[in-house]
Structure formats: C-alpha cells, structure tokens
C-alpha cells in the first residue's frame, strides 16, 4: 500500500518528518518498506513564461525563445519544439539543472546560438498525459496551472508528494486504505481521529424505477449497494485527485472511474461503475457464472468463467467478475450518460479462488480476499456520491438500493486487563489499556469491548492483548527468564546422527547438503532397472522444473551429482558424505516413509575399493556394530542400486543376516553418464536401520594372564573362494582358544596356477586357564589343515 503523505494530512493534522514517521509506524505495527519523494530527481527547474519566439539563424527546425524565469532579465533558450508561442507558461530547466534519470542540463550553444537551459516536455519531467490530460505527448508542456513565474516546478505541478510504502499483513485489510493508516497514525502519536462522515445532497428520483438488484447467492455476496448518477460529464479529474492517484500508484483515467479508485484507496472498499445503457433489462443479478459463459474484462482479455465463480450479470450475461474486474462492454466511456455505482461485499475466499483461477490479481481482489466487512459498503458509496458532487460531474439520485439480507451484529470480545498484563508480562492499569483501544475505534464498556466493524481480525482476548502491546510498545515489555524444570537431551536417533557424522569426519569425509528432490532421469543415470520399485517416487504436482520434480527414493544419485561436479571443478580428489532422507511412497494419500541414509562417495588420491570398505568398517565400529559381514553383492541383494556398481567390485554389508549397506566401485557406464573420468566409489548405509539394532552394553574382560601361541598357515585355494569363507572355516576349526586371525598375504602369479591364489594367515591362540602347550596349538592347527583340505585348499 502506497500512502500519499499529502492525503494522510487530510486526516491527521501534523507535520511528519518522513523517516521518523516510517519508524514510528513500523513500531506500532504498520510496517514501512520504504518511501519515495516525487520529483526528487528534479533540481533547478522552474516555471517560465515565453516572451518571444524567433527563428534560429542557422536552422530550419530550431527556434530561439526569450523566457522570463522570474529573475529580472529574461534568458535565451533554443528549442526544437514547434508548439511554443509567446505568452506560454512552460517548465524551464535552467543551467546546471537535473531531470529524472539523472539527466544534467547545462548552458551551451546550439548551432552557434547561446542556449541557457531547456524547455521541458511532460516526459522529460517523468510524467504522462494521464497526469495532465490537456497537454500533448510530444512537445513542450504548455502549463495551464495556477502558478507563479520562477516558482519551483515541483510545487507548481504538484510533483512534490512523499509516498510511503507499507507492507500490510493479510489480517489488516482496513490498513489497505488511507483512512485505516490515518487512524493508525493518529493513534501512534496519541492524537484523536475523527471518522469522516461523507454527505451529499442528491437529486430527487426513485432508483427502483431505474434498476433492480437481486443477490442470488447470499453466501458469496453479503451486501450489494447500488447507486445511480444521471447526466454524468465524463472528463479528466481535477489535478489534486489525479496527483493523489498518481502518488498511490494508480493511473488517472476519467473522473467517474477515478472516483471509484479514489474511494477504494481512501476507504479500502473496491467499487465499480457501470454504464447504465449496457445493463440489459435494468437488472443486476449477483449469481454464479453458468457453464460456458465468458466475459471480456476491462483489460481486453476474454475470460472463460466456471460455475464456482461469482459474477455480476444483467438479464442476459455477466457484466463483471465479482470483486475482481468489470467487463469491457459495460465500462465507462466518453459518451456515458448514466452510471450505476456498485459498493458490495463479496466472500474473500471465493474472490481469491476466482482471481487465482483467472490469473488476474487486481487491487480490488487483493482487498476482497482478505475479508472486508459489509458495513464498509455504505460509507464508501456515500463518499463516491460526495465526490461526484464535489467534482460536479453528475447528478446523484437521493435514493439507493441496499440489499443486505443478514447484517452482522456488532462483534464483542471480553476485556480482561489482568489477563492481558499476565499474558504480556507487564503491569499497566486498565484505564491505560482502554485508552489505547479507544484511540483505534474500540468501545470499552466495563468488561466488554465492542470491536469496530473494520477490524475483521479481532476475535479473542489475545487479539486485544496485541492491540494493547502495540501502543504500549513491544519494546517496553521487560525480558523474563523461563522458569521450571528444564530436562533436555538428544534422542537416541540424534545421538546416532552425531556419532555417524563424527566417524565420517574422522575418516576424512566432507559433509555435503543436497536437494531432496531430483529428476526422474537420475534413475536412468544410475542404471536403475526399469522395473525397480525405487522408480516409484513421491511426485510434485507443481515442480519448478523436471530437475526437481520427484522426491528421491535413493540418496546415491545426489552423491554422484556432487562427485561429478567436483570432478568437473578439477578437484583432484574428493571424499564426501551426506546424512539425508529418502522418501519412499506408502499408500495413496498417506505420507511416505522418510528413512535416514548415510551416503559416501570418494574418488582420487589413490583410493580403491578397500579404501571405501575401510571407511565403512570404521563407521560401523564407531556405532558399536561388531560382526558386520561382507559378501559380494548380487542383483537380489536388497539394494536396487546394485546396478550402478561394478559387478565384480561391490559388496553388501549385513548384520545378523540383514543387509545394512552396499558399497562398491561405480560402474564404468555410470561414471560415463556422470562424466567422471576416474574410478569413483560409493556406499549407502541404512542409518535408520542401525538405530533398530541394539548394541550390547560394554563389559570389562580380564586382561590375559597367560602367553599366546601364534601359528601361521599358508594355503592355495580356488581364486573364487572368498577370504571371509576361509576365515570362518579356520575360526571354527581352532575353536575356543582362538584370539585373532590376521590375513597377511594374498598372492596370485608365478608358481600359482591361474585359477588359484595363495593366502596366508597368522593365527593367535590363547587360553585363559593356563599357558597353551605346543601340543594344544599343534592339535588346533591340525584341525585347521583338515578343515581347509576338506574344501580343496592345499595347505603348504
């Protein structure tokens, strides 16, 4: 809402220092976004009178003028304009003057003739013919204003208003008006505010002979007032009215239309004016649109209406979209004779839906959608009548039609000073509170407050408390310390998150943050099987773009994107992690599951599969998971992302038989999809599932009292046999005295057949009952050799 400070002063008689005013209003709840001073770019431009015009000696299209600028001696100015004559009053930009856009005017010579400034057009002053309809667009602005020679041009043409821009919140439609803001301003400065009471004389005439109004849908239209103005004289509005519209950001059109806009700005009640000639059947019906109906709105667009939309119609067709925009056909034209004024109350939600569906948010709809009170219709139309008479642009019938089937009772709320004091943490007397409330139009009677109709936002005592706080001053509320027992801690899930993060950081990983929505194409990019359930994503109906249109069902594509980005940025190595959610659809209309996942991605720096596995192992160690088992992953391993990995270099980690992580080298084709030119490695750990695993409490085990016996075993087995299988076998064969198995060599190559490998372990055995004898150790090793030979391994 742009407020003209000149307009404000009609209602609040006070000199305002603009900056202070902005601050003061903000602190009582009318937030100021900023302000602008009209014409502040114009400097050293004055009113001048042309004394003579003679042709330029060296030019056919230039003329030389002598101009009186109120400084005794006239000055000489050369102009190319053809519309100047002796006696004309014109704006003169003197030597060293400034015009809008930073244009600097200095004296000089034009084709050898001295020129001491410039005569200005409307455009050069930043104006249009809408501001001064008698002037022409291209040519010098020949002024018809009441002004003095030498007067500053800004005051001469009224280009000296200050406009303050307010951010009005959706609960205060009353402040989308000059009067509403004036009321707030008066209360801010502790001044009384006199509510205006518009009056008009009118001419005799029965409006019901002219027009009838029928509200067919009283839910969506609570009140409709129709007024009738005869014999209108369409023309430009007077300058003061045009200035105020301009300062408020509206374009002056003609006097009748300007009056409706002026009233909307002043009272906050949108109005409309119809040309009575085009209301067929002389009837106005407020009804829902019929299927298939269309209307050409004032902006010239054809709009398709639908039955949930409310329209103003004559007996044949819609003539306006209720509360949004009027129809072109019945709009005010230069030859309009009789005008019907509409001041009505439409349902906010309905106006909002209609405006949204038609894609046309107007000053009118923006006000209606916040829910205006039907009591506002009356003073608004009265003001319109008053203005018609003030401008002398028509005869107002002294009767009007007012359809108001269910006038609401005045709203009351309880006045609870003690509660308000307690609620705000202040201590002020009831009278002081009542004083604040009265200033903004509330009536206080004992323990009851009558709320003025325009305050649609006031419903409860908490709302009253806010009004008191606003004028007492939010910043006068003293800070207090919360009391009571405070017992806060991280939940197990939050602790786990932090542990995982610490472990990742200890492993040298950098945390990343990626978007939760991805492109469905990303599933192709990671080679996800076409029938994978992960392709069933939560889909956004109105995404910003395809790239962010589905909620990810796997965190790995996000990781791949970031790896690729870093590779493209020529970062030689990367080690990254993200703790993020996946969004797994459940039933239709129900919320998806949002399991937490830890994704890891690395490339460069000499890393390989085992670097990644080492990181994963340490992370499991950090969260206390002992006995995680790794095996080669396969298509049915429980992770559909399997297909994004190198089939020979991917493992699934399981705990208690349940898969909890997949880790591996990126499939070369996936690397290619992402444009990553080196081997990259990724892992996904099901963090939420780890939370479900109960990690046993740690208990102390006595330190060993007896020495250990160590034996090495070296064997040759099939290349396909996983080391993990050999370890398990040895472990079982050694039995209870086993303390540790340590792999110390894997060899393939010379002296070993192509499909075989040589593996060597060091086995540490210890008994807690006494020193292990050689016989005991040898017996264990004998069992080991037997077990190994049973699977075809050759012990060396």
């Amino acid at each position: 809402m742009d407020l003209s400070m000149k307009w404000l002063r009609d209602y609040v008689d006070r000199d305002f220092e603009t900056k202070q005013f902005c601050y003061d209003m903000t602190m009582t709840g009318s937030k100021v976004e900023g302000y602008g001073v009209e014409g502040d770019e114009i400097k050293n431009v004055v009113v001048g009178k042309i004394l003579s015009v003679v042709p330029h000696e060296n030019s056919d299209h230039l003329v030389v003028c002598q101009v009186d600028v109120g400084k005794g001696e006239p000055i000489q100015i050369v102009t190319g304009a053809s519309n100047v004559n002796a006696g004309d009053i014109v704006p003169v930009a003197l030597d060293d003057s400034y015009l809008p856009g930073g244009k600097h005017i200095k004296k000089g010579k034009l084709r050898g003739v001295e020129s001491n400034g410039m005569l200005c057009s409307l455009g050069e002053l930043g104006l249009t013919v809408h501001d001064f309809p008698y002037a022409i667009e291209d040519g010098i602005f020949i002024m018809q204003e009441d002004c003095e020679i030498g007067q500053d041009i800004r005051s001469a043409i009224g280009l000296n208003d200050t406009t303050v821009e307010f951010e009005i919140t959706s609960n205060r439609p009353d402040c989308l008006s000059v009067i509403g803001l004036a009321r707030e301003a008066a209360a801010t400065y502790g001044m009384d505010f006199a509510e205006p009471e518009p009056k008009y004389k009118g001419v005799d005439g029965d409006i019901t002979e002219k027009i009838n109004v029928v509200i067919e849908n009283t839910d969506l239209c609570r009140r409709y007032i129709g007024g009738y103005v005869k014999n209108v004289k369409i023309g430009p509005s007077p300058r003061w009215l045009r200035e105020r519209l301009r300062a408020s950001g509206l374009r002056p059109i003609n006097n009748l239309v300007d009056i409706t806009n002026y009233v909307m700005l002043e009272y906050g009640q949108p109005m409309h004016a119809f040309d009575a000639r085009f209301i067929k059947g002389n009837e106005i019906h407020v009804r829902n649109a019929r299927a298939g109906e269309t209307i050409t709105t004032l902006d010239g667009n054809v709009r398709e209406l639908s039955p949930e939309m409310l329209v103003i119609a004559d007996t044949e067709k819609p003539v306006a979209v209720a509360g949004v925009m009027g129809g072109e056909y019945s709009g005010i034209m230069d030859d309009t004779v009789d005008v019907i004024f509409e001041s009505a109350s439409f349902n906010g939600a309905s106006v909002r839906r209609t405006a949204k569906k038609l894609g046309m948010r107007t000053d009118s709809s923006a006000r209606f959608e916040k829910g205006l009170d039907p009591n506002l219709c009356e003073p608004a139309i009265m003001r319109a009548f008053e203005l018609v008479e003030l401008l002398g642009c028509g005869e107002v019938l002294n009767t009007k039609i007012d359809r108001f089937p269910n006038p609401p009772a005045p709203k009351t709320v309880e006045f609870t000073p003690d509660w308000i004091n307690r609620f705000l943490g202040i201590d002020i007397p009831a009278e002081q509170m009542a004083g604040y409330l009265k200033k903004i139009g509330f009536e206080v009677n004992g323990s009851e407050i009558t709320v003025p109709y325009y305050r649609v936002d006031i419903e409860s005592k908490a709302d009253v408390a806010e009004e008191v706080a606003r004028f007492y001053g939010y910043n006068n509320i003293p800070g207090a310390n919360l009391t009571g027992v405070a017992d806060a801690r991280l939940t197990p899930a939050q602790k786990l998150t932090r542990t995982l993060e610490s472990a990742c950081i200890a492993q040298g990983l950098y945390e990343i943050e990626t978007f939760s929505f991805i492109s469905p194409k990303y599933y192709d990019k990671i080679n996800l099987p076409v029938d994978s359930k992960l392709r069933n994503s939560v889909t956004i109906l109105n995404p910003l773009g395809e790239d962010t249109s589905v909620m990810r069902t796997t965190v790995l594509p996000s990781m791949c994107e970031v790896l690729a980005r870093n590779y493209n940025y020529r970062n030689a190595e990367a080690a990254l992690f993200e703790l993020g959610s996946e969004y797994i659809p459940t039933e239709e209309g129900k919320l998806p599951e949002e399991p937490q996942r830890l994704s890891i991605g690395i490339y460069g720096g000499g890393c390989d599969f085992f670097s990644l596995k080492g990181i994963v192992e340490q992370i499991f160690r950090a969260v206390g998971l002992d006995g995680v088992e790794y095996e080669a992953a396969s298509a049915g391993c429980g992770f559909d992302e399997y297909s994004m990995f190198h089939p020979g270099r991917v493992a699934v980690a399981s705990f208690d038989g349940k898969p909890i992580a997949i880790l591996g080298e990126m499939h070369p084709s996936v690397s290619e999809n992402y444009g990553i030119g080196v081997r990259a490695y990724c892992a996904k750990i099901n963090a939420s599932e780890i939370l479900g695993i109960s990690v046993p409490e740690k208990t102390y085990k006595p330190l060993p009292k007896f020495p250990a016996a160590t034996r090495d075993v070296s064997l040759i087995c099939d290349d396909d046999t996983p080391v993990a299988v050999l370890e398990k076998l040895i472990s079982k064969a050694v039995g209870g005295v086993l303390e540790k198995i340590k792999l110390f060599d894997v060899y393939k190559g010379e002296q070993i057949a192509g499909d075989k490998k040589s593996v060597a372990f060091s086995i540490v055995m210890r008994s807690h009952d006494g020193t292990l004898t050689d016989d005991q150790a040898d017996a264990a090793m004998k069992r080991v050799r037997k077990a190994l030979s049973e699977i075809g391994a050759e012990v060396r």
Partner: protein, 339 residues
C-alpha cells in the same frame, strides 16, 4: 715392580687418549685390566715379594687399577656423549615438512551452525523435535490457523503432492505434532528442511532450513519470549546485543513480533551487513494463537506459550560472509574446505 706398575698406568693413560670408539675402549680395558691383562700379569708376580714390600706394592697396584678404571669410565662417558651428539645431529629433521595423518573431514557449514544452535537450546532446556518433510496440509496450514483460501497461504508458494499432501513450507507443523502428543510443559526446537516454490538465485532456494522453537506451559508471557531472544543471542554471539521487537502478523501467533537484533558486525552503528539499519532480523515470533492450542487439545485458558522461527541459511551466510546462497548446495570442496 713399582716402576713397572707406574709404567702401565702411564701407558694406559696415553693409549686412552687416542681411543675414538667404545670398541677400542673395551679392547684397552681387556688389555690392561682383563684376566690376561698387563696389570693382572704383574699382580701375579706379587707372590714373590717380601712381606714388607707386598702391602706397599699392593697399594700402588690398586691405585693404578682404580686410576685406569676411572679414566676408562670417564672416557666411556665422553664417548657416549659424543656418540649421542653425533646421532642427534645426524637425525635433525626439517620440522616444517607436513605431518603424516589422514586429514579430518568437515561438517557442512549449515550443519555445523545447526548443531551449534541445537546445543545452545539444549542448554536452555529445549528438546530437539522432528517431523516429516512430506506433510499433510492439515499440519502445515490448517492446524496453524491457515484454513484453505487464507490469503497468507499466498506468501508461501507451496509444492503439492496431492490435494492434502505437500512439502512442508515451514517447520511449524512439528509444533502441532508435538503438542498433539505431549502435554505441557513443552520446550522444543524443530530444525529441518522446508520447501517453497522459489526459483534458485543468490538469495533464494526451493529448499532451505528453518529452526523453530515452541514453549508451552502455565504462565508463559511475552516477557519470556523477550528473555529467550536475548539469551539466545548472547549465547550465539557472546555479546550483549540489544534486541528490538516489531509488531507483525503470523496466523499462528497473537501477538506476533519480528525480533531484530543489534548488528553483531557494527554493534548498531550501521554497516553493509545490516544495510545501514544497525539491526538485523533474528526471527519471527509470537504468543501461540489460542486457536492453535485448542486445535492440539491444549486449553488456552490454562496454558499459554510462545513460538519463534528463523531461517538457517541467512544466519550461516551472515556468519561467514557468504554472498551467494547457491554455494551452500553446490558442495564444491574448495568451498566446503573453508569451514
């Protein structure tokens, strides 16, 4: 014999002078003092001496032995010290060479600041609550006093999944879920991701983070909100920065307030950080609207509360002087490595 002893003493001493390492020293010790050494050989001849001479010569012999022993020990110490010195000299390192370690990773700046804020609030008795990001319209809007067609919904451009499911536009639905499940006293913060249909640019992102707080108990006042605001700033910035409350409107609080804090950069004098205002926005806040309490089955006649909410990105950007929000989601290691 006496002369022989003295000669041995002198001989040992002069040989000792030329000894350069511990091996030669040991050879010398054996040569003079060993079982087959020169001194031992002479001592064996003692038997042939007279009873008068024996103690005299014995004394001399002992003196010579102890002198030699002493000299050897002294030499040994000298050699050891020299050897140490040599070894230490040889082992000199260029200590400015880099250390050997696996470099630590880093938290993302958003997460690092989030944890800092969480820890501050845990210290003030606030639990950390969470809720779904894909949320019902009811929790995101309706229960928060934003019924369908409420004009304030326009200010939060929403991503919809279906008519009644959306991506939460604020962390406030967590408040509702907590109040539905827990009886007062309630003291929580709800940090998390929120979504709004804003195109990506230097200051906007369709996904960002909020941290929301809620306190509900008997006798909670707006003064408590002021107090928490002051305390939080003190703990985050370590200074007594002034706060300023501006009336505002949020559908789920009444009264509502924007809380500004004195600019931590210039202390209120006005700088580029605060655009010359001297103050920067901390959070939106207010007393929980009675309708919201009622929606969650909490009697507004018995309980009252306050809530506040802030955007994490802006806080992080201000803290580190980051001027482009996109950097936070690009995850360039050259950026991440700076925090």
């Amino acid at each position: 014999m006496k002369q022989a002893l003295e000669r041995i003493g002198q001989c040992a001493k002069s040989e000792l002078d030329s000894i350069r390492d511990s091996k030669d020293l040991e050879a010398l010790r054996i040569k003079f003092l060993g079982k087959k050494g020169e001194l031992t050989a002479i001592m064996k001849g003692m038997a042939s001496l007279s009873a008068e001479e024996r103690p005299v010569i014995g004394q001399i012999a002992n003196k010579v032995r102890s002198d030699i022993e002493e000299a050897i020990e002294k030499k040994a110490n000298e050699l050891k010290a020299a050897a140490f010195e040599l070894k230490l000299k040889e082992e000199k390192l260029d200590v400015t060479l880099p250390g050997k370690s696996r470099e630590l990773g880093r938290l993302h700046p958003l997460d690092a600041v989030m944890h800092e804020i969480e820890d501050i609030f845990i210290g003030m008795g606030f639990d950390v609550a969470s809720g779904p990001e894909v949320e019902y319209d009811y929790y995101n809007f309706e229960a928060l006093n934003l019924p369908p067609d409420h004009p304030a919904r326009d200010t939060q451009d929403t991503f919809y999944i279906s008519d009644n499911v959306l991506l939460r536009t604020q962390t406030s639905p967590v408040q509702i879920r907590v109040m539905e499940q827990k009886k007062p006293p309630i003291r929580i913060i709800a940090p998390g991701r929120v979504y709004r249909s804003d195109a990506v640019d230097a200051t906007h992102s369709p996904l960002f983070h909020q941290i929301e707080g809620l306190v509900v108990d008997k006798g909670i006042t707006m003064g408590d909100l002021v107090g928490i605001s002051e305390m939080f700033i003190k703990r985050l910035y370590g200074e007594n920065l002034k706060i300023r409350l501006r009336p505002h409107h949020f559908p789920f609080t009444e009264p509502s307030a924007e809380v500004d804090m004195e600019c931590f950069n210039c202390g209120g004098k006005g700088c580029s950080m605060c655009k010359g205002e001297g103050y920067i926005e901390l959070w939106g806040s207010g007393m929980v609207h009675p309708k919201v309490l009622k929606n969650c089955g909490i009697d507004p006649e018995v309980y009252s509360g306050f809530a506040f909410g802030m955007g994490l990105e802006r806080l992080v950007m201000r803290k580190y002087g980051i001027t482009d929000l996109r950097l936070l989601y690009e995850n360039d290691l050259r950026f991440l490595g700076q925090f």
